[in-house]
Structures are given as C-alpha cells and as structure tokens.
C-alpha cells in the first residue's frame, strides 16, 4: 500500500498551520460486493489512520467502509521544528502501511 503526501505550504514558517493532504491507494472493500462467481468479497477497509509529527500524534481517524475507495484525508498541524511527518494505517486484514514526509520549517 502506498500513499501520496502533500503539505501546503511546502515550507511553512514556525507556528504556521500546515494543511496535510494524504491519498492512500486502497480498495476500501465494503464486504457487500460479489465476485464473478457470486461469492461474497470479504470486507477489507482501512480502519485506523494516525499522523505523527516527530513521533507525537497530531491527528487520528477511525475509518469504515463509508469512506470512498483510495481514501483521501486533508487535515492540519502546527509547524513546530523541522522534522518528519509519519502516516501510519492498518486495514481489516491487519496489513499496515506507512509513509513519511519531511517537513522543513523556516524561522
């Protein structure tokens, strides 16, 4: 599972609120669909997403099959020190994904 991360602005000033956009590649299988042979396709959704800033949690989301395929999340964090944003998520089959993005803060 891969994800794309975008920060707006890309080089924030210290104390500025940064918009974080994350797009994760995932089917978010609802569990209500059937395959060509008519067998039910098991539900498999990302159920937990956490964003950490230098190891400190800044945003968390409990998700469900009510979130569209290839989940998109846009949230915010305050620019502190230059460091790293880590996105982590897990789906119903316990597959974990993680993606990191550096955050460069100007004084």
């Amino acid at each position: 599972m891969t994800a794309r991360i975008q920060l707006v602005p890309a080089r924030p000033r210290r104390g500025e609120i940064v918009e974080v956009r994350v797009l994760i590649q995932h089917n978010m299988e609802t569990g209500y669909r059937r395959d060509e042979e008519g067998r039910g396709i098991r539900r498999n959704c990302i159920n937990l997403f956490i964003c950490r800033y230098d190891g400190v949690e800044v945003f968390r989301a409990d998700l469900s099959s009510g979130i569209a395929a290839n989940p998109f999340l846009e949230f915010y964090t305050v620019a502190g020190r230059s460091g790293e944003l880590e996105m982590w998520w897990i789906d119903d089959e316990s597959t974990q994904g993680t993606e990191r993005a550096p955050i460069t803060v100007s004084e």
């Binding site: 059937r34 949690e57 009510g66 979130i67 569209a68 846009e74 964090t77 305050v78």
Partner: protein
C-alpha cells in the same frame, strides 16, 4: 431493505411535509440522542445544536465518492480544543462512518475526505469539546445513484 421503524417513519413523514428552508432543522431533528450510536459517544450527555460545521453538496449523481468537510472554530489550545468529530450516516449499512481525533497540535479542527452514501439521507456530525460539551449539525443530501451494495 430493512423495515422502517415507526419513529423513523414519522420523522421522515414530517420531513417530507417540511418546507425546504427548514431542511437543516429537520436533518438535525432526526439525530436521536437516544440512538445507541450517539449514546455510546456522548454517554448520555446533552448534545447542543450548532458550532460544528458539516459541508456536503446538496446533490450527488454518484454516492461512491462524495466530498465531505467537517470543521469547528476553536482556539485549539491545551485548555480549549476540539477532541473529536464523529460522522454518522442515517441510511448506510455501516452508520458509524468516521471519527476524527484532534490534539492542540492539530492547530485547526477541520477534516476533508470523500464518503460513500447508500442513497439520499441526512449526514450528522457530532463534535466533542475538551470542556465536555457536545455539538451537532446535520445536512441532507440527494443521491441519484447509491454506492453499490450488491453488484460491482
């Protein structure tokens, strides 16, 4: 189709007679505070109307990916911040759609995502504040083609 409960039937009938200008109010009127989903979240605390904002288009051709934004004005300091915003669907098979948790380091209590909707319905957001109060707001959306439930 699951059977329509008496309470929900009455609520929908009332909504049908209401003027379009009142649609916001009917949307929130249908958020029953004794609803088990709401109860689990609020532990029975009263839910006040307002402050939290929920943005959905009034209409969607396709229920598979509808843009949703929930937000709340807050200073987001250690003593006064939005703990979480929960999003409930009225008609989806999974009504507990998403819960977003913030910290003072979030800076702003606002989230945008894309949701699936199984038909026209009300969507409600309930926010929990650090002072223990709960705030709710609902919107109605018309969906022409519901997110697929049976066929792919």
């Amino acid at each position: 189709m699951k059977p329509v409960g008496r309470r929900r039937f009455l609520a929908q009938a009332a909504a049908g007679f209401a003027l379009p200008a009142l649609s916001m109010q009917t949307a929130i009127a249908q958020m029953d505070q004794l609803d088990p989903l709401v109860w689990v979240f609020t532990k029975g605390a009263p839910v006040q109307r307002g402050r939290v904002r929920i943005e959905l288009p009034p209409m969607a051709d396709n229920g598979n990916a509808v843009p949703l934004t929930v937000s709340m004005d807050s200073p987001m300091t250690a003593v006064d911040y939005v703990r979480s915003i929960h999003v409930f669907s009225e008609r989806n098979p999974v009504r507990d759609m998403a819960r977003f948790f913030f910290t003072p380091r979030s800076g702003r209590a606002k989230v945008t995502t894309r949701i699936r909707l199984a038909g026209s319905q009300n969507v409600t957001a309930i926010a929990a504040m650090s002072d223990g109060t709960f705030w709710a707001e609902g919107v109605h959306i018309e969906v022409s083609v519901a997110a697929c439930l049976e066929e792919s």
